[in-house]
Amino acid sequence: MALPERKTDIGPPHYEQFLPPVIKKNYGKWLYHEVLSPGTMKHVAESGDEIYTVRVASPRLLSTDSIRDICEIADKYCDGYLRFTTRNNIEFLVSDKSKLDPLVKELKEKNYTIGGIGPRVSNIVHTQGWVHCHSACTDASGLVKSIMDELYEYFTEKELPNKVRLAVACCVNMCGAVHCSDIAIVAVHRKPPVVDDENVPKLCEIPTTVASCPTAAIRPNPKTKSIIINEERCMYCGNCFTVCPPISIHNPEEDGVAIVVGGKVSNLRSDPKFSKLAIPFFYNDPPRWPKVVQAVKNILETYAKHARKHERVGEWVERIGWERFFSLTGIEFTFQHIDDFTFARDTFRTSAAFKF
């Protein structure tokens, strides 16, 4: 069977053809929006036109059949228009108000999860994990599923002081803004990599491999034409593994995940911030990582109990101080919490004013 003629460098299809007519008409002329429920909102244009959005959770990993199911619903209620959010939710765009309630009804009947709008937990931004990545040292999808099952009502219903953005990264490459999330999980290695001296000379460029190490722990080994790792300097980032596969960083028994907290990307009230280390390590405990799930819930609920309205996790912690964060959450403070890398000097306390 002949294939159609390929085209190159045409770029993505122009977005305009995918916009509902009411959006095309009121493009750039929206006046305000209202959150109607945890999963629905209304946008009103200067012209008085309205569009309703219904937000639905997605596991991000979707089969084509599920996409067709979603399309069928969008055909029925949204004239065939829909979109996705940057946090992987599905948004049904309803131009005809009379179709809003029937849409919500059908979504509920079909067990879709509606929510994620307003001061709540939104969908977790996450990475590929064991599903599809060579450098994963945990499975992101499994962690996300386990955490969101536990925090379900914070997506569908319960209010928090402000939005809480969660993220999961299955290694320190962090595909997705884990480093600036309210609460995030990042998978980490804890042992230096094992070097396969036989294959390193065959598969790797030695100078590139040496240069890949941020702590200068790698030097060439002229005898074996491979490399030697100074294990005391290694901080297990795995960058050498990325450029030279025979340097294996994976260690299933000692790999696991850390929890970081207090990051944000928005500029509201306070500057964007990095997440900081809360809990340095949990062993991988598939399929449901119960200790990780409980730790996330504990941090979330401690925040919910103590933060002021509109404070994000990081703003709350900065107001009360990190020493108080550790006492309120009951999280143990360890040597791993004290930075000894790039930004260390900025993190040591230089004031005699602090709390007990």
Partner: protein, 396 residues
């Protein structure tokens, strides 16, 4: 053919109310050997706590150096269906808007040539088709491109730009994020498809300081909409918020980081000393009917953010505090070209532009792109009395 593998570990992840990725893989496995072996291999990972994917190899479509991520199982004999399991990155339309017709078309192509598994969307923004064989790549590309789709970026290249929903459905958009995203994606097609950079280069565009695409945290060039003049106030709506029970003093005025607002509870009016406002968006986001961004709109350009690999995470730094952005965006394109040229000329392999700025100094970067020093670029001036003088600084 489903049911080849017993998956007691993964079955646990079909329980509970949140939608399950395992259910998705099983759905695809009913039709595809590839998806079925994906399921089998994943179950094994759950038992042994490790992945079984090899490093990507160099695979792709003719004439492109990116857009396909090679992926091979390290257990091809045990799981032949995923011996090759390459990712195809399809460049998403700006703002992630689709018609059902377009999505179905992609689904049909993917059922024919791939595993039937997708990511909507990948972290960078592409519509990700997850898992196909090397021999199918050209066919997938011909089917997609003949219907108006193209591949996104991968490797040391311009990566697929992405943006927030912007003017399509948000009253806070100060710039037309979707148009700009589309325009830059088209402008950089060659750089996107043929990796020739020292490393990746990401562009993300948000319409306001809420930054819904997390541009400031994960783009080499973060474009964030802002305004220069005064916040537009509708006092009638201010009064209505007060009457509806919003504690304007506590929730708005007291939380303003610059303390530039004054609320009069007597007549329920709000005043803003706009010169002192830093445009953080808190008040506007909480009182969207009463407050709107100003009318002199544009964007702040920030450069350098990245994830921790390898000497630590960076947030983007302000380079150009304000730039008007109107089609065809020639000033912006010229400036980005200069940034990339400087980076390309000076960076080591796998060095991001933010890291290069740290290594060479902000001055070198600013001079190369022709941007003068401005106080908006720093949180504070330097502390220690060690600073360089260039010959040009002596000519007075």
């Amino acid at each position: 053919m489903s049911g080849k593998y017993k998956t007691p570990m993964l079955d646990e992840l079909e329980k509970g109310p949140w939608p399950s990725f395992v259910t998705e893989i099983k759905k695809a496995a009913k039709k595809s050997d590839m998806a079925e072996d994906e399921l089998g291999q994943l179950e094994k990972s759950y038992n042994t706590k490790r992945g079984y994917w090899k490093h990507g190899g160099i695979v792709g479509v003719l004439g492109y150096g990116g857009g396909v991520i090679g992926r091979y199982s390290s257990l091809p004999e045990e799981f032949p269906g995923v011996a090759h399991f390459h990712t195809v990155r399809v460049n998403q339309p700006s703002g992630f808007f689709y018609t059902t017709k377009a999505l179905r078309e992609i689904c049909d192509i993917w059922d024919k040539y791939g595993s039937g598994l997708t990511n909507l969307h990948g972290s960078t923004g592409d519509l990700v088709l997850l898992g196909t064989k090397t021999e199918n790549l050209e066919a997938v590309f011909a089917e997609l491109s003949s219907r108006g789709w193209d591949l996104g970026g991968s490797g040391s290249a311009m990566r697929t730009p992405s943006c927030c929903v912007g003017m399509a459905r948000c009253e806070w958009a100060n710039i037309d994020t979707m148009d700009l995203c589309n325009e830059l994606t088209q402008y950089y097609q060659d750089q996107l498809h043929r990796p020739a950079f020292p490393y990746k280069f990401k562009i993300k565009i948000s319409g306001c300081a809420c930054d819904c695409v997390a541009a400031i945290a994960r783009a080499d060039l973060s474009i964030i909409g802002t305004w220069k003049d005064s916040i537009q106030i509708n006092q009638d709506e201010v009064r209505k918020y007060a009457e509806a029970g919003l504690d304007i003093q506590k929730e708005i005025v007291d939380m303003c980081p610059t303390q530039c607002m004054y609320y009069n509870p007597e007549d329920k009016t709000l005043k803003i000393a706009d010169a002192e406002c830093n445009r953080c968006m808190h008040c506007i986001a909480k009182m969207t009917k009463a407050l709107r961004p100003g009318k002199e709109k544009g964007a702040t350009l920030l450069v350098g953010s990245k994830a921790p690999i390898v000497v630590g995470s960076l947030l983007s730094w302000v380079i150009v505090p304000f730039m008007k952005l109107t089609p065809p965006y020639d000033d912006l394109k010229e400036l980005i070209d200069k940034m990339i040229e400087w980076w390309d000329d000076n960076a080591k392999p796998r060095e991001r532009i933010g890291e290069l700025i740290e290594a060479k100094g902000m001055r070198a970067f600013l001079e190369a792109i022709g941007v003068p020093p401005m106080p908006q670029q720093v949180k504070e001036p330097r502390k220690d009395p060690f600073f360089f003088w260039a010959e040009s600084d002596f000519k007075k």
